[in-house]
Point group: C2
């Protein structure tokens, strides 16, 4: 578990220098960008979920590939929730995202942290580790969607 912890820490350090200062030509682009990044993330997350929940055979290499994509994608959407991007294209984002920025940022950072743990768990090649990391990551998606995404 020591190597696991070191890896997680290294990855966590990396994520703190995540892409910032994203520049979008218009709000519509920002909205499309965050929806796109989250859709790609969701597809790969779903494949991990299928393995974690026994609905697909566990394949350690595929699990690692999918978890790496999830961790990479988890860094991207947040820069596209900048001021003025609450409208401009159809969006399920609740206005509270822009009035509760600190709370929303906490959710975003939680997802980044959980996705890094998930990738580290997948890298161990153990289905049990994957299962243990998948639950908290899925809960992080859900709690943010419950709070900030319209039905």
């Amino acid at each position: 578990m020591k190597a696991f912890a070191v890896l997680t820490l290294a990855a966590a350090t990396l994520t703190l220098s995540a892409p910032a200062a994203a520049q979008f030509a218009k709000a519509e682009d920002a909205i499309k960008y965050r929806q796109s990044a989250l859709f790609v993330l969701g597809q790969h997350f779903g494949r991990l979920g299928a393995m974690a929940n026994g609905k697909a055979p566990f394949d350690a290499r595929l699990a690692q590939e999918n978890a790496d994509v999830v961790a990479a994608m988890a860094r991207l959407p947040w820069a596209a929730f900048g001021p003025g991007t609450d409208k401009g294209a159809p969006t399920k984002s609740k206005p509270t995202i822009w009035t509760e920025q600190a709370r929303f940022k906490e959710h975003a950072e939680k997802l980044e942290a959980e996705s890094i743990k998930l990738a580290a768990a997948a890298k161990t090649g153990s289905l049990d580790n994957l299962k243990a990391a998948f639950g908290p990551a899925a809960q992080t998606c859900k709690s943010c969607h419950d709070a900030y995404r319209s039905k």
Copy 2:
């Protein structure tokens, strides 16, 4: 330039183990996935283009971040052009993608290779290197769009 070449080779080796066997529940998901991945890629590529073409100030750190995202995204769309995904949602993909699979794959691999070179160039921190790598990468986008994307 030697370190540059070694880095490029290392990255090229990595990309050959790119995510494979993507599983989409339906053609609509595959279409949305590849459009999403290419949209995210395009946003980051556009920021590099603005720097390379002098329309935005050169920022070495931002260039590297954007180029790293481009290289990561460039691996993703191709698994979503599988059999049966030529229709199922609005798409600009031409039917020839599925009848000229070897040629289409060449284009995809060219983009992956150019995006790795672009990321390596960005990592040097030199605007001249970025400019030199940006042109061929942009040409790769264009030649594939000209051949396989409807107007």
